[in-house]
């Protein structure tokens, strides 16, 4: 059984709770809390994408678009109409969910490369709209002065407060997704991955489940986009380009897409690489990502979370050879 123990969840929660405190004490990692806010935002996307790709076996190269739609709907509604940010976030989720449904229903009938191409095209179209619809999106200059968030009148005015907000979201989504994975719906998704024919003849409504998980992952990306917009108070189209979609794929491939923790680990490593550790490479950064993807697909098909299992197997084989 794909049981996910309570212990890792508890450890994870503990880590999140003490992280800002530790980072505050150690000057060398003082800015890590800020980076961890972004890690959390990306985790929201990769958890959904991991469910879509790792469990249900449906590829998407267009999730940056859903992320962007979430961010832009929040930004436009708050700056142009002065609506409550939380309400805007909710509207963004509805809008993204609807778009994901309209895009997913026909394109999820496609398989493999064709589905990848369809989602890729969708991502490019949305990116062009962000750039060209200047009266709405501000074009390549982006949108500034997006208001921050507040909870019951308390302004979220520090990095730490956003940290807890974002990771609170991640935690709730993580638990929800784990519950789904360990239920009938999760089994149905994994069944679809292995054999659509068999899943269908066992009474699983394959197309419904595929669209459902696609919409779910898009909604999570939208939430992440809204949080991003309110945290940075500024967005521009470059954040939501094709490369970001690819980066999301690298995150879940690196972490391991058949395991929910892989989505979190992958998001963490890639985010730290791009925000902190890869500055020296400047524009050669892309080569590092390429190398990571290459190594992972050849040597680590199950990602980093699959590494202990692989080593164990290797060890056992070595022993039996002696």
């Amino acid at each position: 059984m794909l049981r996910i123990g309570k212990l890792p969840i508890a450890l994870f929660a503990g880590f999140i709770i003490i992280f800002p405190w530790v980072a505050g004490k150690v000057p060398a990692i003082g800015n890590y809390t800020d980076i961890m806010v972004f890690v959390g935002i990306y985790c929201l996307i990769t958890i959904g994408l991991g469910l879509l790709m790792g469990y249900a076996g449906q590829i998407s190269v267009g999730h940056a678009a859903f992320y962007g739609i979430g961010a832009y709907v929040s930004a436009i509604l708050t700056t142009r109409y002065g609506l409550n940010p939380w309400f805007c976030m909710f509207i963004a989720v509805l809008v993204t969910g609807t778009i994901a449904f309209l895009v997913g229903a026909p394109s999820l009938k496609l398989k493999g490369h064709y589905l990848a191409m369809a989602t890729l095209a969708f991502g490019i179209i949305v990116f062009i709209i962000f750039n060209e619809e200047i009266q709405w999106t501000g074009g390549p200059d982006g949108m500034a002065d997006i208001p921050g968030l507040s909870i019951f009148g308390f302004e979220l005015d520090s990095i730490e407060k956003y940290f807890y907000l974002v990771w609170g979201f991640v935690f709730v989504i993580l638990i929800f997704t784990i519950n789904v994975i360990q239920s009938d719906a999760g089994r149905a998704l994994r069944a679809i991955h292995t054999s659509e024919a068999a899943a269908n003849s066992m009474g699983v409504n394959v197309s419904k489940f595929k669209v459902l998980v696609f919409v779910y992952s898009a909604i999570l990306a939208s939430l992440a986009g809204s949080l991003y917009a309110h945290y940075l108070n500024f967005i521009n189209p470059a954040t939501f380009d094709l490369f970001f979609s690819i980066k999301l794929l690298i995150m879940i491939a690196l972490g391991g897409m058949y395991n929910i923790w892989g989505a979190i680990i992958g998001a963490g490593i890639i985010t730290f690489l791009s925000y902190e550790w890869l500055h020296y490479f400047e524009e050669f950064e892309v080569i590092v990502y390429g190398a990571i993807l290459l190594v992972v697909t050849i040597f680590l098909p199950n990602g980093l979370v699959g590494l202990p299992g692989m080593l164990k197997e290797l060890f056992v084989r070595q022993k039996s050879n002696e």
Partner: protein
Amino acid sequence: MNDTTAENILEVQGVVMAFGGLMALFKPDFKVKRGIIKAIIGPNGAGKTTLFNIITGFFTPTEGTVRFKGRSIKKFKTHEIAARGISRTFQTVELFGNMTVLENVMLGCHTRVPTSFMASGFRLPGAKRKEEEMRDRALNILKFIGLADKFEEPADNLPLGQQKMLEIGRALATEPELICLDEPAAGLNETETYVASSLIKAINAKGITVLLVEHDMKVIMNISDEIVVLNYGQKIAEGTPEAIRDNSTVIEAYLGSEA
């Protein structure tokens, strides 16, 4: 509904299936009485599996109708047909290999114990109870097919004989009224074949109608009540095992005519 529909669980009428210029099936009309074991036999390429794919909704026939419990199944999608009571196994084993034996059977319970994405996500009390109910049902089926001790194994790890049994178990979990078995004994050794035959009889004894495609004549002659013989997509004979055994057209189709 007239009397015949109450008696016949499945009626195949005027079904034509053409793939481009290839006529895979041409009106092999037959009926399946409720509660019997009916076998479909015929040389390779006779259209047996195509017929199964039509009955279970994978293919829509070019012409003709299939009636299940008196109603045409034309409008229904594959998963809806499963929910209405037809289940199947596959010629080449189509298990969910990375899932455990128990999970495979639990998936079969999908239509009978419906749970929603939201309810399971929020782990509502109902969802938890249903999960337990599915587990109990699945374990009972595993006992019935004799795989209870393997419930935690990944399905891929089982030998072929047990994989075939598990596929039947998974099909049973959908609580079918009609179960379509596509070559359940293919690739099995003598002992495994015996186990499979006994299992099919036991399933039938529970009141489930069995439609069977098989090449192993010993199995066919032993367990089936009626046989339909197909050749090149057409029905060439139908009757009891004894009648089919002595039918000259059937012998000719299998062995060629004495020139």
